[in-house]
Each structure stands twice: as C-alpha cells, then as structure tokens.
Symmetry: C2
Subunit: 208 residues, 2 copies
DNA sequence: TGTCCGATCTGGACAGTGCTCAGATAGGCT
DNA sequence: AGCCTATCTGAGCACTGTCCAGATCGGACA
C-alpha cells in the first residue's frame, strides 16, 4: 500500500494520535462505561494497532491521566459557568456551584469516575490534573470567601471549602446509586433533590 | 451441631471453602490493595484451583459482594460502638459516628473501596449488603432524630441523614488522597482534622 | 535532488486474567 | 454395599497489558 493514502481517513503516520486516543477513550467511556475501557479497545476505536499507544503513553495509567485531565477541564468550565450565572444573587452562589458539580458527575458518570480513579496517589499525578483540580478548588474557596465576608477566619474558609468539596463528591457518588429514586421524585427530579440535600448539610452540627 | 448452627453453609470435604475464599480475598486486599485482587490470586491464596471458586460464587462480582458484606458488618459495629461511647454527651453523637465512619475508611481503605465498587447498581445488590447498609443508615437517622428533637419534620431528618452520609463518604474518599497532609498536621492529626471539617459542614448554607 | 535518521506504527509474542467444561474425587444417602 | 450429588481439578478460550523486532514514513541534511 504505497499510494492513494492522501484522501483516505488515515495517513498511516497519524497526525495527532495522542489526541485521537484520548478522544477515543472518552468516546468509549461515554458509550460503554469504564468497564469497557481497555487499552486495546481504545486502539481499536482509533483504528490503530494495540501497541501504538505505547509511543504516546508510558502505560494505561498515563492514558487515563490524560483523560482525567480533559475531565477536570470540562468540570472547571461547568463550575465557572454556574458561578457566573448565579453572581446576581450572592447567597445562592455556593448552591449553584455545588449543583453544577453534582450535575456534571451525573451527566458524565464514567468520566467522573476516571477523574478520581486514574491514579492511586493524587500527589503523584502529573501537574496538569492537580492544577485543574486546584483551580476548581480555588473557585469554590473564592465563592466561600465572598459569601462568608470578612469576619470569618481564613482557616474556617479553608475547612468549609474542604467540607463542601467532600459533600459534593459524596453526593455525586451517592447519586449514582439508584437508592434515592423515591426521594428524587418527591422533590421534582434530580436537581430539586440535590438542592434539598445541599440545603440540609448544616443540620450536621445542629445544637440541642 | 449444638453450636447454634452458626454458619448455615454446611461444611464439606475440604473445609468451608466459601468462607475461606472471602477471608483470603480480604487478606489480599489488606496486604496488596484492590489492584491485586484477582479471582485466581484468591484461589491461590486459599490453596485451591482457579476454577474452584465458581462452585461457590457465580462470578468475581459475587465474591466481591460477599467481601463487601463483611465490610458493611464491620463498619456497622464500629459506628454502633461510636454511638454508644458518645451517648453521654448527646450533641457530639453525630460527630462521633461520623468520625468512626471516616476512621474505618482510613483503617481499611481497600475494603472500603470494595464496599462501594462491588456492584454497579446498588439496587441489584444481594439483600445482605442492602440490609447492613440500611441498618447503618438507620443508625445515623436515629441519631439525627434524637439530636434534632420533635420540632423537625421527618423529611428534614431524612435529608439531613443523606447529607451527612454523603459528607462522610466524600470526606472518607478525599482523606485517602494525601493532599490534606499539612492541614491534618495543623489540627493535630487525622482525627482532629476530621472533627474540624465535620464541624464546618454547616457553613455551606451560611446566610449573608 | 537523493539519502539517510529517527519518530511512528505494526504483527507477533508472553504472562496474566475471567470464565467454561469434561472429567476426577469423595461425602452422605438408601 | 452402591449410587448420587456436591465439590474440586486441568485444560482451554478469549481477552487483557506490555514488550519486542522489524516495517514505514516525514523531514533534515547532502
């Protein structure tokens, strides 16, 4: 096959295989779930031999890291949008951001799982993900600082941010299980349920 | 047979292999982590052929379900203990339960992960796990009801319980990442950090 | 322009996995 | 005793992640 490759879909030295592989992985993730995400399946989806990915990623984990990176970017965009959308009414900002976070996890459950599973030890992650996660984290903390005002200590803002992030992540994971179906119905769907739960987080410290 | 028929699974000619397999799995989990938990490795650890487990579990997932079942039982015990230990000072009960939950996840991270990963759809879980999870869930709800008193609607208690569970699970997962190391130090270790975060959950709804 | 180098890609191979199945083994029942 | 059934084994299938020797091609250098 020495000629006629010009107009064909694949130029045999792929233009940007790295990118194509990440795209293929995300496509498989959304279509068939995390269980179907094998390196060979990704190569197959990209129309390339099973060994080809190894010229762009050290191993499967590194591919997953790249996928996670894309995920964190998308989540950051969603949360930034939510913040912007709610800036008019200050008090609801945190709720809007929280809802957008959980909503993202519901819209892209497989991708969301990869974002947290991709590496055992987050300190070892390539800085890309850390950055993005960090930037989303900073976005939440910034919102807290705005809402809390000046009378609150920095440490409290920090802890509240962590607490909110944990609550969001926990709610995101729990919402993937179908257990809350009746409650969701009672609150007029997914979003209503999320808002209701979010608004009850304070009860944890209720004084008697 | 006068031992109250404790294990309903009848013993057979090579011992109680079902139980031995679950134990072997947990041993591998604690020793080498979830990545090393293959069905063949479990069989190897139990000193049995790779096909033997299939006479006691339909597939790998069913073994994992059995492992998760043991995990939920242990978690239930830990939380019940924490509740009993704190009953003197009512206000701290929820915090104590929460701390014991997160502590358990830190003490048995691999087991904890299996407890939530073992099945895609929690509604499809064998009733054993559902029961245990349910019973732990009821324990938390009961504590909330005690703390909140009578003036609070049942629905609010329900939502608060869910919120607390989500927060606990989120904190448990987040704490597995090493990112909070400096903060943990600032609060005198794991437990101090947990208590601090837990006590800040209410800030999520701070009014401005 | 022609030649060669190094990055890219392939086919084949290896060990390990989940799972199935025909047969071996050995308790417990009549 | 003799059978029956649950239990266990070994071989084998399709799949996986990973590595390797070689094929192929783009672009730099002559």
């Amino acid at each position: 096959m020495s000629t006629a490759a010009v107009a064909d879909t694949r130029p045999y030295h792929h233009g940007d295989l790295r990118r194509a592989l990440v795209d293929a992985a995300i496509r498989i993730l959304e279509r068939e779930g995390p269980g179907a995400l094998s390196l060979r399946a990704v190569a197959r989806e990209a129309g390339v031999s099973p060994a080809a990915p190894y010229h762009h990623f050290k191993d499967k984990g590194e591919l997953l890291d790249a996928v996670a990176h894309v995920g964190w970017e998308a989540l950051g965009v969603a949360m930034t949008d939510a913040k912007a959308r709610s800036s008019a009414e200050m008090g609801s900002m945190l709720t809007e951001i929280g809802v957008s976070y959980v909503q993202f996890s519901q819209d892209h459950p497989a991708l969301y799982r990869v974002m947290y599973d991709c590496s055992r030890d987050k300190d070892m992650l390539p800085e890309g993900i850390q950055d993005k996660e960090d930037s989303a984290y900073c976005l939440v903390r910034g919102a807290f600082k705005q809402v809390a005002g000046d009378e609150v200590a920095d440490m409290d803002v920090e802890l509240a941010t962590i607490a909110a992030w944990c609550a969001g992540h926990g709610l995101a994971e729990m919402s993937m299980f179908k257990q809350f179906a009746p409650l969701k119905e009672a609150f007029g769907g997914e979003e209503g349920f999320l808002r209701a739960v979010l608004s009850h987080l304070g009860m944890f410290n209720r004084k008697t």
